[in-house]
């Protein structure tokens, strides 16, 4: 017998004496039903909560009235923080007038030495100020990971309340999961030396979220 059969047989034997109502139907039905567990009380307004939690997670927040305003919003953030103005973006932003805003932004996957990475987001979660990023042909996973500075462009209409809502949205619009779903809440960090928090462990030092269409 293979390791697989041996392990499964031992699991069944271990559970043998236990009550398993209508097994395996119950558990397979639960998989389809996608029951939500109890949620904490959330008496907050989604848009406000998202901004507050982003700041609590040490992201920064910017705004743009429409998508064409995004390059200028990115430029003003970079200038204010005195950060490098060249880098890479997801192809969905290739046509924006980056040069007009004084930035050198190319639509390509990020390299290990890029200082700036600009991404969109599948959606954002108000509960904890989180971006939901899907890997894909034109939504490179590395753009939000390798550069020191990550700028994410999020339409205000794509801010949902909880992770449960985000999963529902993903099922509705995509049907299945991409290779990787990354929930990003603020810059990368560690407290592995004397429990002291340091930002910029292996991923970005800074995450700037630009909410579009306020």
């Amino acid at each position: 017998m293979s390791a697989r059969e041996n392990i499964l047989a031992r699991i069944r034997e271990a559970n043998g004496g236990k009550e398993r109502a209508n097994d395996p139907g119950t558990i397979l039905a639960r998989l389809d039903a996608r029951v939500r567990g109890p949620l904490p009380t959330m008496e907050w307004e989604t848009q406000t909560r998202f901004r507050e939690r982003c700041i609590a997670m040490m992201s920064t927040i910017g705004e743009a009235e429409s998508i064409v305003e995004v390059p200028r919003a990115v430029a003003s953030y970079l200038k204010e923080k005195n950060l490098p103005t060249s880098g890479a973006c997801w192809p969905e932003f290739a046509a924006l007038d980056w040069a007009g805003a004084g930035l050198a932004v190319e639509a390509r996957p990020s390299r290990g030495d890029d200082k700036l990475g600009i991404t969109g987001a599948f959606c954002a979660l108000a509960e904890n100020g989180t971006l939901m990023l899907l890997s894909g042909e034109d939504t490179y996973a590395t753009t939000s990971l390798l550069p020191e500075n990550h700028v994410a462009v999020v339409p205000a209409s794509r801010i949902v309340r909880t992770m449960e809502d985000a999963w529902d949205l993903l099922r509705r619009e995509r049907g299945s999961l991409p290779r990787q779903v990354n929930f990003v809440s603020g810059p990368s960090r560690t407290a592995d030396i004397e429990m002291t928090l340091v930002l910029g462990a292996h991923g970005p030092f800074r995450v700037h979220v630009i909410v579009v269409g306020v």
Partner: protein, 472 residues
């Protein structure tokens, strides 16, 4: 990992006398306990969520076979290559086999406690592979040639100065004195390895049956690097990590990071479903998942199966008065603290960790903070019972207890003997009323403090006199 749990007492005494360890533990205790209590207050129905979390984990244990098969079906459909391993040795062999097949030279590793169980790094190095831990704490520990002392904060026992000396020596750069600068030096040193490693190894916090995904909870970004940059990714994970749906994970995550580090959410939650898709510009060409038993089915069949609910947050150790004073290394294996006192004997053999289930006052701090309501003190008591029924306790202890049981069942003999002991004790105690040195097992008590001497009369003698007085 080598099991040294049977040297618990010696090792614990050493840690108690080590001022550096004591300082680090005091620092960690203050931070983690306070952070947790603050962050769970964000959930007004914490207890309700905690109850639901325990139920989800129990459901996972009860239907583990169906869920794992369902998970496998979905994972394979997404292109994942699934392996099953019964023993730690098989895990290492499988990983080495995959590495050989892909001509792998350099491996980057994100944290995996199961990898510590199987001594994976050692096996990979022995097979001539270059393996680098990339979680900052794990990296520090690997450079020191040590083992983690905490499952969430592996290098918690090392001071900034220790690490500054280590980095200066290993990196051949000027010695830095600042925690932020040290962290960024490690970032610079590790970055090239992320870019040119051939294989990434990670663990998994959960397996999601609904989608066939593995997921990891991280803060540093090394987990994302490990699962995305190299051309092959291998995830190693225990059978008990399976949960039904994405909704179930969402619920468990509200508790996991709050219980672990006091964060409302960790920086990165990464759900991986299969290898690189056609058209993708990044991601590994092959994604392997190794599903591991390594003693878990035995735990599932035993009286301590609730221990498999564990989601590895570390809250039980952070809140344990024993752990808080001796740290993780004294426990002698991968998992320290209360959960370690249960999992170690359960996974490596009860006879190899006799002291651990007894290394607790059963104060139940661990049981109170456990996010999945594992009754940790009850499980430790069950292991103590098993030690007695399997006659694993020392000869003198068993004889002593037998003797006590014999006399306790004979009230007259018991009264006679305790009467003598009370009088002798009073005489030895003298004017101070304290015993400075007890015989046999009592000597461990009096090596650190005095024992109050009996006052000359037993309880039964006093009670009889009291009754007589009342009747009159």
């Amino acid at each position: 990992m080598q099991v040294t749990s049977n040297q618990f007492k010696k090792s614990a005494s050493r840690k108690l006398a080590d001022p550096k360890v004591q300082k680090a533990l005091r620092n960690a205790k203050g931070k983690l306990v306070v952070a947790r209590s603050r962050s769970i207050r964000e959930l007004d129905n914490f207890e309700e969520i905690r109850e639901a979390a325990a139920q989800i984990r129990d459901l996972g244990l009860l239907h583990m076979d169906v869920l794992l098969e369902q998970w496998e079906k979905k994972a394979v459909a997404a292109g994942t290559i699934v392996h099953w391993a019964e023993t730690p040795q098989q895990v290492n062999e499988l990983v080495i086999e995959i590495a050989r097949k892909h001509d792998v030279r350099k491996i980057i590793k994100s944290k995996s406690m199961l990898g510590e169980e199987t001594n994976l790094n050692h096996a990979l190095e022995a097979a001539g592979l270059d393996v680098r831990e990339t979680d900052l704490g794990e990296y520090i520990i690997q450079q020191f040639g040590e083992t983690p002392s905490h499952i969430i904060a592996p290098a918690v026992h090392k001071s900034k100065d220790d690490i500054a000396d280590l980095f200066a020596e290993k990196h051949g750069r000027p010695r830095l004195n600042d925690i932020s600068a040290l962290t960024h030096e490690a970032r610079e040193v590790l970055r090239p390895h992320f870019l040119d490693a051939d294989m990434g190894i990670s663990g998994a916090n959960f397996l999601i049956a609904e989608t066939g995904s593995t997921m990891i909870v991280t803060n540093e970004g090394n987990g994302r690097m490990t699962t995305t940059m190299p051309r092959v990714h291998v995830a190693v994970t225990g059978i008990e990590k399976v949960v039904p749906t994405l909704e179930d994970v969402a619920l468990l995550l509200r508790l996991l990071t709050r219980s672990a580090t006091g964060q409302s959410i960790s920086n990165y939650l990464s759900f991986t479903t299969g290898p690189k898709r056609s058209g993708d510009k990044d991601g590994p060409g092959e994604f392997h998942v190794i599903i591991v038993d390594a003693g878990r089915t035995q735990v599932l069949a035993s009286e301590i199966r609730e221990a498999l609910r564990c989601i590895r947050c570390g809250a039980c150790m952070n809140h344990c008065p024993v752990y808080q004073n001796i740290g993780g290394h004294a426990y002698g294996w991968v998992y320290p603290g209360p959960i370690g006192s249960i999992l170690t004997p359960a996974l490596v053999g009860i006879e190899n960790a006799l002291d651990l289930p007894n290394a607790s006052t059963l104060c139940n701090q661990c049981g109170v903070v456990c996010p999945v309501k594992i009754p940790l003190p009850d499980l430790m008591r069950k292991l103590r019972e098993r030690q007695v029924t399997e006659k694993l306790r020392p000869w003198a202890e068993r004889f002593g207890l037998r003797l006590w049981a014999w006399t306790a069942a004979r009230p007259a003999v018991y009264g006679f003997l305790t009467g003598i002991a009370a009088r002798v004790g009073k005489w030895i105690g003298g004017a101070g009323g304290l015993l400075h040195k007890l015989p046999a097992a009592g000597s461990e008590w009096t090596s650190g403090r005095d024992f109050p001497a009996p006052r000359g009369k037993t309880f039964r003698q006093l009670y009889a006199r009291h009754r007589k007085g009342a009747r009159r």
